[in-house]
């Protein structure tokens, strides 16, 4: 299926996929460090395993970033 992930067009071999599986495929080592925006909606972390990714979906992986003061 074709997706837009972090602004880039991606083609994946999978025909069905959950958010959790996509995070694995994309080698996201610490899913607890990422927020997923799925077609403009921020997903609840608990829904990663049950939310299906569909052809043409737009996804953003947003990472925690600290840094600054010290």
């Amino acid at each position: 299926m074709k997706l837009t992930l972090n602004g880039q067009n991606e083609t994946l071999e999978n025909e069905t996929l959950t958010i959790e599986e996509l995070l694995k495929i994309k080698d996201v080592k610490m899913p607890e460090m990422v927020t997923v925006e799925h077609n403009g909606e921020i997903l609840d972390r608990a829904a990663f395993a049950t939310t299906a990714v569909k052809e043409g979906d737009t996804l953003e992986f947003l990472y925690f970033m600290g840094g600054g003061s010290h």
Binding site: M30, M33, G40, M65, G68, H70
Partner: protein, 268 residues
Amino acid sequence: MNLTENQIERYSRHIILQDIGGVGQEKILNSKVLIIGTGGLGAPAALYLAAAGVGTIGLVDGDVVDISNLQRQVIHFTPDIGVLKVESAKAKINQINPDVIVKTYAEFFTADNALVILKDYDFVIDGTDNFPAKFLINDACVMAKKPFSHGGILRFAGQTLTHTPGHACYRCVFNSPPPANAVPTCSQAGVLGAIAGMLGTIQAAEALKFITGVGELLVDRMLIFDAKSMNFRTVKLKKNPSCPLCGDTPKITSLIDYEQAVCDLKKG
């Protein structure tokens, strides 16, 4: 308030900007900006806001300057090692621009002092390095209806969003702080010093845009950049109905001091 001849000269490059002009410069001179954290992000932000003539700059930081800060915290100089960061920063601001009143808070931002410190300011810059502080700043600003700029940096990357009342907050995106052991600390992960400058000056620009009403703020958007590829992009955000702070059924109704486990304050 009328600009003096000296001020007209000092701020001439602002005043000739059509969007700012003398009226915009007067707004800047009458504005009050609070910078929380006088480190990697707060340092460049403070330098540019001071040069711009922001009338009152508040600085919150309980730490002293350490030699490992000097790689990126450009408001502090080598002779400042061991000096309170807020005092070091105040001295530089006074030298850059005597028009600026500097208020120093030589303490960390906590659930106890947050709302009292925020009260007098028009805009807040989050220049902190740790998630407990970032969530606290978000919560306090949302509760007090204060606009603020969030900033985060890691290695070669940065992210920033601006919150104004009624729009997406940091918790709309990041529900709660990450598990402490999941986050590389600043000392472990490292950061290219210039990244702090890039992000801190974006935050200063957002503050000046807010004060003067020029342009479109990073509201309901997050700017993300990666300096390795020099790709900049903005991700659209919206207020999240399940946000624990500003959503339909808020769970957070008072300020929280999360455990400081993410970034060791002394060594970070």
